[in-house]
């Protein structure tokens, strides 16, 4: 009785009970696919949130004025500063370029790498040779802004410090703006007018995708004085973006920034500040912690579905073997060695759980290609291995163990089994 023969017996055994074999396979399939998909959805949403946060820029502090109606720019995210009271004050000062310069001072703020003052003008009409587009947000700033806010150019170049000093009218536009104004043309070097003022396109930003309800690609970025001169005037800044020297120094940079601004704005003791510092890293930490909880929760749900699936497999395997104890007795009576019987049942269990498991992996992988509830699932290889491994192991054990016990019975005991 060779292995091939045993395998053929197993196939025949499965074919003899098509319905049960099918249902067992289906049960394993669903269990495995559910675990893979569940983990993939969890991972997908976790990654999406992390990406959204990272898109705002790494290691940065966003300082905005506390007196203005809205401060204008930014990613639409605002956080309360440590100071509790944020009511209007008579002596409140706006943020100025001088404030920004003070923050860039290496002796006062050693943890600060770059400082980018920002003014923003909303809904600016841009025109190129008859094509028009309303740019959601025109930002005037320094070149360091691109790195600090994580906005690399895809083609063309950034503007330079020279451009800032000379208040040149150059602009780097987002993907949406480029598409609406130029279509398939190359925008680099072309002249457009924004709010009636001519600008030369220096570069096009890399596509960022939409962050929440805002299209992050519907922007244009120009040198600060150029925007102030032509569009916003020389009033207070909307924001100052401060980039820390490293991820570890963000908190140090925050306290340096706070003490410099407190000194410059005459804020001391209990008095409420007239600005807010929004710490990117702090938000990221909070979200990471929340995501950790979320992942644990999903993992628990996945583990439970695996457990339930496993109990299902166990059940069917036990019933199968118990029901077939008589058959085992007959096989023994005609001279089947224990090994051949055990081999057959093990092979049956392996085939059922492997086929079911692999189909489950296929369904899980296929399903994760689709967007589920607004989340693009991301496959986690570990979950595939775990789900497949656990279901196959359960199938093997609960198919093999009772079969082994039945094969050990004396033929007459197995035959008398009801």
């Amino acid at each position: 009785m060779n292995a091939l023969e045993v395998l053929r017996f197993a196939v025949r055994g499965l074919a003899a009970n098509k319905m049960r074999s099918g249902l067992t396979t289906l049960g394993i399939l669903i269990g495995v696919a559910a675990v893979i998909l569940l983990v993939a959805v969890g991972e997908g949403s976790s990654q999406a949130i992390t990406q959204n946060i990272q898109r705002l820029g790494a290691n940065t502090l966003t300082i905005s004025s506390n007196t203005m109606g809205g401060g204008g720019g930014g990613g639409g995210v605002r956080m309360a500063a440590p100071q509790q009271d944020s009511g209007p004050r008579t002596q409140a000062k706006g943020l100025t370029v001088a404030d920004a310069r003070a923050l860039a001072d290496k002796t006062g703020a050693p943890s600060v790498r770059t400082v980018s003052p920002v003014v923003a003008a909303q809904s600016q009409a841009a025109v190129y040779e008859g094509a028009g587009h309303t740019i959601q947000q025109l930002i005037g700033t320094y070149p360091a802004y691109f790195d600090a806010s994580n906005k690399p150019v895809a083609s063309g170049s950034y503007f330079t410090n020279d451009d800032v000093l000379a208040a040149r009218k150059v602009v780097v536009i987002g993907r949406t703006v480029a598409e609406n104004l130029f279509g398939t043309l190359d925008p680099i070097g072309k002249r457009i007018t924004i709010g009636g003022v001519p600008f030369t396109v220096a570069g096009v930003l890399k596509e960022a995708g939409s962050a929440g309800f805002q299209d992050a690609d519907d922007v244009a970025i120009a040198p600060l004085p150029a925007v102030q001169q032509s569009l916003t005037g020389f009033g207070p800044l909307g924001q100052v973006i401060v980039q820390a020297t490293s991820a570890e120094t963000v908190d140090a940079a925050e306290s340096e920034v706070t003490s410099i601004l407190n000194a410059r704005h005459g804020i001391s003791g209990m008095a409420a500040a007239d600005y807010r510092v929004f710490n990117q890293a702090a938000l990221q930490e909070t979200v990471s912690a929340a995501m950790g909880t979320f992942t644990v929760l999903l993992g628990a749900v996945a583990a439970i579905s695996l457990l339930v699936g496993g109990i299902g497999i166990t059940n069917i395997m036990l019933v199968t073997v118990t029901e077939r104890t008589r058959e085992i007795g007959i096989r023994k009576a005609v001279g089947a060695p224990r090994g051949a019987i055990l081999g057959q049942f093990l092979a049956e269990a392996t085939m059922l759980s492997l086929v079911g498991g692999l189909l489950g992996v296929a369904v899980g992988v296929l399903g994760s290609q689709f967007t589920i509830a607004g989340v693009q699932p991301v496959l986690v290889p570990g979950s595939i291995v775990l789900a497949l491994g656990v279901s196959v192991a359960i199938g093997l054990f609960f198919g093999g163990y009772p079969a082994g016990r039945a094969a050990k019975l004396r033929p007459i005991e197995a035959l008398r089994h009801e």
Binding site: A16, E327, K332, A333, V334, G335, P337, P411, L415
Partner: protein, 249 residues
């Protein structure tokens, strides 16, 4: 016994076998010291009241069960001294067992059921098929090879079971009430087959309640309360079975 050359061991040699089921209050002594030998070519009917221990004895003879005490030799080998693997080979090669309740494997064709012992015996598929078909036509079922047990009558199922027991050409054919579940026509078919096998020199031991059936055997054993109380020879071991004696004479 008589006329047996000393160097040929009997097919069956049962020595002071007892079998007890359960323990304490529930102890049942099904066999209380049975000794008997069966020579090659004999055709034995075992009779006795219900509960006298016939099936218990038969299961021990078929190596499906083990005695509580005593020794049992098949073809000269001590079954009690064999390990699990050797026992399965013994069951496969030397013994063919026919059950009262057929015990065919459901959802497997008659042919596959008959091939089963050959498969465990390690025969090649072609040879297996050839011999299984031969055994099936011997029991008159050449036209039912593709049927599954639930598509066969009781008599046909029992004939498939006999074909399965015969297909390995075992030294010993054991049948526990082979006609117990059959009508008179099917009974006649099955007994005919057994007579033919006996005629061909096969050793047969069968259990029956019916005197008619026992009348086919060369020798009749009677069991009472787990002991052999009567051992009657009706025709010689070497000759044809009684029902065929007239035909050949």
């Amino acid at each position: 016994m008589s006329g047996r050359p000393e160097d040929v061991p009997p097919v069956l040699d049962v020595r002071a076998v007892t079998k007890a089921y359960g323990r304490g209050d529930a102890l049942v002594r099904a066999l209380r010291g049975v000794s008997l030998t069966v020579d090659r070519g004999d055709y034995v009917a075992v009779m006795g009241a219900s509960g006298s221990g016939k099936s218990t004895l038969m299961n021990i003879l078929g190596c499906l069960d083990v005695p509580s005490t005593g020794r049992y030799l098949v073809d000269g080998t001590d079954a009690g001294a064999l390990d699990e693997r050797q026992l399965s080979i013994l069951r496969n090669r030397k013994i063919g067992f026919v059950f009262q309740s057929f015990n065919l494997i459901p959802r497997m064709t008659a042919l596959a059921n008959v091939e089963l012992p050959l498969a465990y015996g390690g025969l090649k598929a072609g040879e297996r098929r050839r011999r299984a078909l031969a055994a099936l036509s011997l029991v008159g079922l050449a036209d039912r090879t593709r049927h599954e047990p639930n598509e066969l009558s009781g008599g046909q199922q029992q004939r498939v079971a006999i074909a399965r027991a015969l297909v390995t050409a075992p030294a010993l054919l054991l049948a526990d009430e082979p006609t117990g579940n059959l009508d008179s026509a099917s009974t006649r078919d099955v007994l005919n087959i057994l007579d033919q096998l006996s005629m061909a020199g096969r050793t047969i031991v069968m259990i029956t309640h019916e005197d008619d059936v026992a009348g086919h055997a060369k020798r009749i054993l009677r069991l009472v309360d787990g002991q052999v109380v009567e051992d009657r020879r009706r025709s010689p071991v070497a000759g044809p079975p009684p029902k065929l004696a007239g035909v050949t004479a």
